[in-house]
Assembly symmetry: C2
Homo-oligomer: 365 residues x 2
């Protein structure tokens, strides 16, 4: 293999690949990047057996070939280079990365041991990259990170007519986003949130992202990048569990003003981090109190309709719930007792988001 | 006590104070801020018995008084406020922090238990804040962080005629900076580096900083701020230990170019992180090799005089040594064998810096 490529493009391709498939420490082959040089350019592929990714990059290929080298050292070397062009050439049992005055040589791994990079054929559809990134930035971060409960580490993607609905929960809160969906088939899969967090970062500037589901597999592709993953078992996450029939209090408030006040008042909250939202006639009064820290209260102007049910929340979760509505007015639909509050934007955009937050017992006076 | 103060100025004063005296967890009194309101304004004081600080802030004082409250919660509350003015008023056993629509109440601690904020009288002199910040940013970060060897956690400040000389070492490298000193007396003290790291951040925009040494005490003051500390026992750190008589190779190089190449080549270094500097006629060639990582080499254009002694360094320490010379040409004075290399700027400014770096055994080929 012998090729010359634009350094920035090749570095970006390698970095994207490593972030999509971080690799497994147990097996160097599964932490490798499979470089395939053909007349069309160079393709970078990776697989950890559960997840695969490939990214194409333009290159002037002098000699075709395929090699496997450690992925992270390749990405780090390319990222550190400032020369506009870089040459990758096999020299003995090394892949040499050559730039003006410099040579970096990575050991070749046995590419015949690599599981290869598969593609998924199934039914799916197309979404806008910006909308998918917006939806995932909230939904994927709401999933649990605790691997002990794998079922809560996923995002359920489900097509419902001309909308794609994304749902995730860690049991304390749930985020549900829907966005326009140009379908050529149906999808209903549970996809690991860690992968979708990375996909969200990479697609925010992309026009179209194609999503495909097949038996036990999910694939996303955009631009020069394609990623596949095994799916989680997750038919549990259905809408029916959400009983919102008892909403008796609706509060409309500037999300940033409520978040800023929450951050201040939460400095005085108890060990559980609880703040109380006292609903008044045209304001909510946030309160926190702690035996050692002292106490705090702050009023925020709101529009209130219905009753005066006054819930308490864990401040960290309330801030997470308000973040996706930054810069907007948000409605809190509040139910009495220990039942969920639902946050929605007053003027939703293309991506419609519902954030469901469980209340806490109020702090002791 | 009852006063109104500009929020930003009071928040900055409280933040500066907390950073200079982070307090001790064992005793809430030593993590408190002593607020003293007089017609002149409000003074914030802190002491952990070894270190004290006080910062003055303008305020409109309605009622004089002195209270002690937890320092970090006060600083965090003030920092979070966006109102231009804030009122501090004693209400029962609370200090209330009041802004439009909000009240935050901190518990009062017993201010009679506070050790008070002393001042140091002794001999000293004046330096420029910018020069002191520049010198400390390198010297203070060279001291060891390991509290098990307190003698290496200090910076020695010594007046030598019209220069103030700062020295610190962690035994693997040493930094020596000198800057202009307007003396009214002599100083020769070993000051904890952790405090000086914070002083460096706070004085960079200040015209003059006054430094004073007395028996077992050191004080620095600038603008509205004064800090004192107990000194370390450190007469050991003397110039005489540096035998630089055997310098046989001098390399002059662009510091940024050498640092960038070091960062790239170091990706291929062995477990010790060693890179070798092969000195040629008009270039140095950096080399690193590791059985697993592969190998790397890169050339950097230099001016070489004297011999061709080719040392090896721990890459991390070489990068630390080059950092203070960023944007400049640096001379490496190299000695044969396992003797130190000295880095100096080709065109030093007001602050003259010598960075002394111990070599390592070269990597195995």
């Amino acid at each position: 293999m012998d090729l010359t490529a634009p350094t920035a493009a090749l570095a970006a391709a390698a970095a994207d690949l490593v972030r999509l498939v971080p690799g497994k420490l147990v097996d160097p082959v599964l932490s490798g990047v499979l470089l395939t040089a053909t007349a069309a350019g160079v393709e970078l592929g990776a697989s950890d057996r559960e997840r695969t990714a490939r990214v194409s990059c333009p290159a002037l290929v002098h000699t075709d070939g395929q090699v496997l080298v450690p992925a992270k050292p390749l990405a780090e070397t390319l990222r550190a280079l400032t020369e506009p062009e870089v040459r990758l050439v096999v020299e003995g049992n090394r892949l040499a990365i050559r730039a003006e005055g410099a040579r970096f040589a990575l050991p070749l791994l046995d590419h015949t041991l690599h599981p290869g990079v598969t593609s998924v054929s199934g039914s799916g559809g197309v979404v806008s990259g910006a909308s998918l990134a917006t939806a995932l930035s909230t939904v994927a971060s709401t999933a649990a990170r605790d691997e002990a409960l794998p079922v809560f580490t996923g995002v359920r993607l489900r097509s419902e007519d001309d909308r794609l609905v994304l749902r995730a929960t860690d049991r304390y809160r749930m985020a549900i986003a829907s966005l326009p969906w140009a379908a050529d088939g149906e999808v209903d899969v549970m996809v690991p949130a860690t992968l979708l967090v990375e996909v969200a970062k990479q697609v925010s500037g992309v026009g179209q992202v194609r999503l495909v589901a097949a038996a036990n597999q999910f694939a996303a592709s955009w631009g020069q990048t394609a990623v596949t993953t095994a799916v989680l078992d997750g038919t549990y996450l259905s809408e029916t569990k959400l009983a919102l029939s008892d909403v008796d209090t609706r509060v409309v408030v500037d999300a940033d003003a409520l978040a800023a006040a929450t951050r201040r008042v939460a400095l005085y909250s108890d060990a559980r981090g609880v703040v109380k939202l006292e609903v008044g006639d045209s304001e909510v009064r946030l309160r926190a109190t702690d035996q050692n820290a002292g106490e705090a209260e702050e009023s925020v102007k709101t529009t209130v309709s219905g009753g005066r049910t006054s819930p308490a929340y864990q401040s960290r979760y309330l801030l997470d719930a308000l973040r996706p509505f930054a810069g907007q007015r948000v409605e809190l639909a509040i139910q009495p007792g220990m039942r969920a509050t639902v946050l929605t934007a007053v003027d939703p955009g293309e991506v419609e988001l519902r954030y469901i937050l469980m209340p806490m017992l109020p702090p002791k006076a």
